[in-house]
Structure formats: structure tokens, C-alpha cells
Assembly symmetry: C2
Homo-oligomer: 227 residues x 2
């Protein structure tokens, strides 16, 4: 008996851990059916050396209980992709939860789904939520009604455990956490801009400069079309 249909969008140049972290958590949920979704079933080259194969096309996807959108450099094109935005809007209407990890929130925002909603995204991009109508909020996982957004990349694991607890109860979430031995022990304290050394933060921001220019322009264009 399938109790939960959970779909995760896959797309070229996505950050694979945004999807694979939550997917591993959802795999431990009894009676769940997961879908890795894209326009076609052709293999997808992600950012970071992994090629993965979707199992369900957007056209063939059943109504989901949970739809999640990962992030990565590929979100740039998704933000004004009518097929993807329309798919997300349609699924969101009946879904129990609509989620994003990392910059996947920009895609939900571009679909008009985060208007007036509290949300988060990767720490470097929270300001871009504003022109899309969302309210940037503190928290590794932010919930506003049926919308649940996670921070950058590895936040997807916290996001998915939180989601499982909402769907199926805390006992099941705790069992999954134990199964994946999620007792994190980062070797350094560099995981957020508040704790990273200033020179590390500066170097990472510098590397993001060209991406920022592109994303700001795309968000402005999308926001103008939404107005």
C-alpha cells in the first residue's frame, strides 16, 4: 500500500546532493514511492561528477503528496522554463508538501508559489528570494503552511527528516536517522557564513561573482514578468 508519493525534480547541472541526500532519507519511509523526475528519461549530467537517470517524466508523473526541487547552477534555466513551472504549479495545488533544497527555492519562487511565504535557500542567495515575493527567514529548514524550504545542499538531509516526521511521525524519522547514522561531526566549523573564517567567506563569495551577476539578472527578468 503506497501511502506517500514523493517526487524530486532532477535537471542538468543540478547539485546532486540536494537530491540524493533527501532521496536516501525518503527511501527509509515505509510505503513510500519515490520519483526522480525530468522531462525525459535520458541520463542527466549533474554538477559534480554524477550522471543519474530519471525514472518518471513530468508528463507521466502522478499527483504527488510531496514535490521537492533541488538547486544548483541549472536553476538559472528552470526559472523561466514554462513546462517546469507549470508542472510545479499543478502539483503544488494538491500536494501535501511543496519543498525545496538550496537554490531550488528560486524555482518555486519563479513559479509564483512563494508569494508572501517565509522561505530559505542557500546562505549566499537569500536576498534573491525578495524580488520573487518570498520572505527570507532564519532557519536551516523553514516551514510556512505546506511550503518547506531548506538551506544549502547538505540542509536537504535535515529537510527530509523534518518532512518525514511531519508525514509519518517522529518515530519513523528517528529510525531513519539511526539507519543513516546521522550524528554529524564536521571536522571544521566552516559550514555557515556566521562561523566560517572571514578569508574563507571572502574567497567563496569571490568565486560566486559571475554566478551572482547571471542569477540577479534572471531573477529580475522573472520578477518583472510575474508583476
Amino acid at each position: 500500500m503506497t501511502q506517500y508519493r514523493i517526487g524530486l525534480l532532477a535537471f542538468p547541472a543540478m547539485t546532486q546532493l540536494d537530491l540524493t541526500g533527501p532521496l536516501q532519507v525518503f527511501a527509509g519511509l515505509p510505503n513510500a514511492e519515490t520519483h526522480v523526475l525530468w522531462k525525459t528519461l535520458d541520463p542527466i549530467k549533474t554538477h559534480g561528477g554524477l550522471t543519474l537517470v530519471p525514472d518518471t517524466t513530468l508528463a507521466d508523473c502522478p499527483q504527488l503528496d510531496v514535490i521537492c526541487v533541488p538547486g544548483g547552477t541549472g536553476v538559472l534555466d528552470l526559472m523561466d522554463d514554462p513546462e517546469v513551472l507549470s508542472f510545479l504549479r499543478t502539483q503544488a495545488t494538491e500536494a501535501t508538501f511543496v519543498g525545496s533544497i538550496c537554490t531550488g527555492a528560486l524555482v518555486l519562487g519563479a513559479a509564483g508559489l512563494l508569494r508572501g511565504k517565509k522561505a530559505t535557500t542557500h546562505w549566499a542567495w537569500t536576498d534573491l528570494l525578495v524580488p520573487l515575493g518570498a520572505i527570507p527567514s532564519e532557519g536551516r529548514v523553514v516551514r510556512d503552511g505546506k511550503f518547506m524550504t531548506g538551506g544549502g545542499v547538505t540542509a536537504g538531509i535535515d529537510f527530509a527528516l523534518t518532512m518525514v516526521a511531519e508525514l509519518a511521525g517522529q518515530d519513523i524519522a528517528e529510525s531513519i536517522q539511526l539507519g543513516i547514522e546521522y550524528a554529524p561531526a564536521p571536522p571544521f566549523e566552516s559550514g555557515s557564513p556566521d562561523t566560517a573564517r572571514p578569508e574563507i567567506l571572502a574567497a567563496v563569495r569571490t568565486r560566486m561573482t559571475s554566478t551572482r551577476v547571471e542569477r540577479e539578472a534572471r531573477v529580475a527578468k522573472v520578477a518583472a514578468a510575474m508583476a
Copy 2:
């Protein structure tokens, strides 16, 4: 200029996050070339709803600086697979680091590589390291010379950040940690047998009963052949 060649073994019924977590970390390492390795380049169905595509066959794999073996139910067959064990032994001779995540340590052990070495694996299987000649040791990431072993599933992220710091220095590891926003905030304290509620631990152990019978038998067989 490629400074680091890093290979991660992929195989049927692996736990995908054992590979995808470290791979995302390694993707941030400048001048690194990553390889997702298996006997063929055919898509592989992993445990937990992800199909991934290897990019390099074992036969075509160059000498690696780092070779990593993930875990999962598929390790059962790897433990007496001559092609895989021979590949690992050959790579291990010249590699700078030989690593495992989760029950991948049982494969390194079956290859005879952990004899007399301190090692760890997923919390539920540490006792199985003993017949393979390893010395089970406390720690989410355990290093003994060139051998670095990580705990269960999500430990792969800590493992890979530790590995990057060893290879390329702490600054680069900290930059990657910030890029993937690895400031974990698990919603529950259930990630290890020491912190999980007793009834959760008991339930997870019960679910592992049949896997335990199979793995104990395979480890005993492999250990007898090694003696």
C-alpha cells in the same frame, strides 16, 4: 592540471548517499578528476530509488590517488568478487589514500587490506570487522596510515572533508564546507546507538536481523578463505 585522481566504486544495491555525499565534497576540490567506477558503464540501480551511471570501468581506470568504497546491501556479493577485490588490491598499492564509507569497510577487509588496521564502519556492523583482521575503533572517521574509514552513510560527508583537508589543506576543505552549507542541524538526536531512544534502536536492529544472518555467514566464509 590534474593533481588528484579520486575514484568511488559504484555497484548494484549500494547505498547511494555513501557515494553521492563524498562525491559532492570532492567536486569542490580544484584540479581533481573524479571517477564513478564499476565493471561496465551500464546504469546501476542503487538502494533507495536512484539509478546512476558509472563513467569509468574498472578495466579502464587509471591509477588513483584516492579510492573509496561505499556500502549497502550490495557489499554482500562484493566481498567474494575476485575482479573487485583484485582491482582494490592493485589500486591500494600505489594510492595515497584507501577509504571506505559505511559497510564498504567490509569490502576493504575482504580484500585483505585492513589486516591489523584500525577501522570503522556503520555502527551495526563493527563486530564484522574483527574476522576480517581489522581493529574496530571509535570515531566517525578513523585513519590508520593510508587507510581512512568512515561510519554509516552520512559519515561520508565528514570523511570526505577530512580527506580533502589531508590532500589539499584545511582552507580548501573549509571552503567546500561553506559552499555546501554543512552546518548540520538534525531535528532529532537519534543518529547513533548511544543517543537513540531504546525502542528506536531495538526496532532498527530487528529490521536488520536477516541481513545480519547473511552478512555473518559471508564474512565467516571470506575470513576462512583468507586464513
